[in-house]
């Protein structure tokens, strides 16, 4: 009787997470020790590192987290344990990297292995699950994001992780890294801004003119089906032609390759979610509300800005969220045509079979996409919550 109750109390997500974590720890290497950046590394399991105090502490904290996930109902307690475990995970990979790096070697690379990444994801899920169960307000969620980013920042700034391969790659490219980070964000946010400026009026127009709606939405859906690489290629031809034949176009930076085709392609991809969500959002406004507004003598513009757009705004913002996360990912591909961004590191790394360099491009991209999703979700929820 007691046993069945205990089993029933087990968190099903918890069981999956713990099983995954245990399997990853036992079977996947925690760290690869490589003589140089392209050498095949020597895999090390976490269990092989137990002679190090940090690895021992991490193992204890991993067990504590597993226990908390399986048996503790208190989400706050779980959050504290998982956060400590998170910190220990980062510290351990740093210490392990330092321990295996030969003195005064610049060539050796300590790459985090599958075991590390799976544990990273599992503990991340435990933390976010605990945060969801605590039922944070939207603004508290952004605050939590800031706190965990800050925690990561402290680790990076402390130099603890400097012997990791990804940080070694960063150290040799730190100036370029920040340039590409700015280029990446500029391309993503810039294309979003342009898409909003074009897409919002287009969406409103599509809502007013049903005949236009079908044409525009089908056209934009068609664009969405073109693979990004192909679209970049398609844009090269007309833009290259424009740049060579219209000096004015060339002088404002339009060329067949570079930021111009990247920006145009990103805007084209961004239009469908924004236009479609604007139309859907406006369609969701109760027609009797619009009728009452017209009957009371609001002008067409007052109805649009005072009634229609505020009521459709949460849905439009959902479209903007989709676009931003999508654009942050797509910008990486833009590196192929000289658009810049973190994709530079990814494609260089692929070319040199240096996976650490690929990570230097991929990790920050994932981080940006994740953060912007959390922030925009919080904003959407706070708007929905205040005037449901």
């Amino acid at each position: 009787m007691e046993e069945t109750l205990a089993v029933r109390k087990l968190d099903r997500l918890g069981v999956v997470l713990v099983t995954t974590g245990v399997a990853a720890t036992a079977l996947l290497p925690f760290i690869y020790v490589k003589a140089n950046r392209i050498a095949a590394g020597k895999p090390m399991l976490l269990t092989q590192l137990l002679n190090q105090p940090s690895a021992l502490i991490l193992t204890i904290l991993l067990l504590a987290t597993a226990f908390a996930v399986l048996f503790l109902q208190n989400a706050l307690l779980r959050l504290v344990i998982a956060t400590l475990c998170f910190a220990a995970l980062l510290a351990t990979i740093g210490f392990a990297a330092s321990a295996f790096t030969p003195p005064a070697s610049n060539a050796a690379r300590m790459t985090p292995g599958g075991g590390f990444w799976v544990l990273f994801a599992v503990i991340g899920l435990v933390v976010s699950d605990a945060l969801v169960k605590i039922k944070l307000t939207p603004w508290m969620r952004i605050a939590a994001l800031v706190v965990y980013t800050g925690l990561l920042g402290i680790f990076l700034a402390s130099g603890l992780l400097d012997d990791l391969s990804i940080m070694k790659e960063f150290a040799t490219r730190s100036a370029q890294f920040w340039t590409e980070a700015v280029a990446h964000l500029l391309l993503a946010l810039g294309s979003l801004a342009i898409a909003v400026v074009i897409g919002l009026p287009l969406g409103i127009l599509c809502f007013w003119v049903p005949k236009l709606r079908a044409v525009v939405l089908q056209g934009l859906s068609l664009v969405q089906t073109i693979p990004s690489l192909a679209l970049f290629g398609i844009l090269m031809l007309p833009l290259g032609y424009l740049a060579t034949h219209v000096p004015a176009a060339a002088s404002i930076g339009i060329r067949g390759i570079g930021a111009a085709p990247a920006l145009i392609a990103l805007v084209l991809y961004s239009l469908l979610p924004i236009v479609a969500n604007t139309v859907v959002g406006l369609q969701g406004v109760d027609p009797s509300v619009r009728d009452a507004a017209a009957g009371m003598g609001l002008t067409r513009r007052q109805i649009l800005t005072g009634i229609d757009l505020p009521l459709a705004f949460p849905v439009i913002l959902t479209g903007i969220r989709i676009v931003l996360v999508q654009a942050i990912g797509l910008v990486t591909v833009a590196a192929l045509i000289g658009g810049g961004g973190f994709g530079i590191f990814i494609f260089q790394g692929l070319g040199q079979t240096a996976m650490d360099l690929v990570l230097l491009g991929a990790v920050p991209t994932v981080f940006f996409a994740f953060s912007s999703a959390v922030i925009l979700d919080a904003v959407i929820d706070s708007i929905r919550g205040s005037a449901a």
Binding site: D286, S288, V289, D291, A292, A293, A294, G295, M296, G297, L298, T299, Q302, I307, P310, L311, A387, A388
Partner: protein, 314 residues
Amino acid sequence: MSMIEIRNVTKRYGTAAVVDNVSMEVEKGSITAIVGTSGSGKSTLMRMINRLVPITSGEIFVGGQNIMDVPVTELRRKIGYAIQGHGLFPHRTVSQNIATVPQLLGWDTAKIKSRVEELLGLFNLDPATFAEKYPHQLSGGQQQRVGVARALAAEPELLLMDEPFGALDPVIRGKAQDDLLEIQKQFGTTVVLVTHDMDEAFHLGNQIAVMSAGKLLQCSTPEKILTEPADPFVQQLTGTSDRALKLMSLLPLKESMEPAKSDLAYALPQSLSLRDALAEMIWQGVGEAAVQNADKAPVGSISMTRLLELGRKA
């Protein structure tokens, strides 16, 4: 003096006439109920008065002015408008909703605030409780009251209502109708109300306009609609089974009583209609009753025989 004058108004969509050559007048300070089945054009006719539906041909005058000579938003801001399902702005509070037209008209903040509080009080909604609530936090009856309060906010001389009580349950609907009558009496607002509920039309209307297939079949007092139906459809719409009672419900006891007598044990208030008096006397089992005024002083009497005579077809 007539508040609204509708002259030979027609509305066509393609070749189909939704409103077909309608002419009628609405007296200042009266309530006109436009009734008809769905698709009869009753809503379309009403919506032409504030130009929500453009007129194909004919003319409408409001307060002596051709509505086409007034800028459309200015016209609408002078006419109250309340609709079924209230049409409140879900993202604005009750007080912001009510303040809509006064704000459009540029009233100053203090005046708007006092008007909002006055209206909330008038509709039995405590300003301290309701002013800052959002529409979704109110019950259906409260939402409907806010909808009518919003329509009356800028003190319009004319109020258009499109099935305003259609979404309410019968008990709340009766209360809302009585509230409307009282407020209409207090402000002297002219009301044009579209409904498919004949009882509502008889309860509220000083004048009833019956529409069918875009045509105005009859526009006259409720008594005449009952006693002199202009068309078989009008008779069908009012129903024949209880027309004696319907007629009696329109006649006040006060105007039909006989001189006071001293030996009557049972008394009725003079504010009742003949129908209510009859029901009360059947229930109490009395053949004759005294009639009292509001101070319980006897002012007349009524007998069952007399009541039954009054219910007869003229």
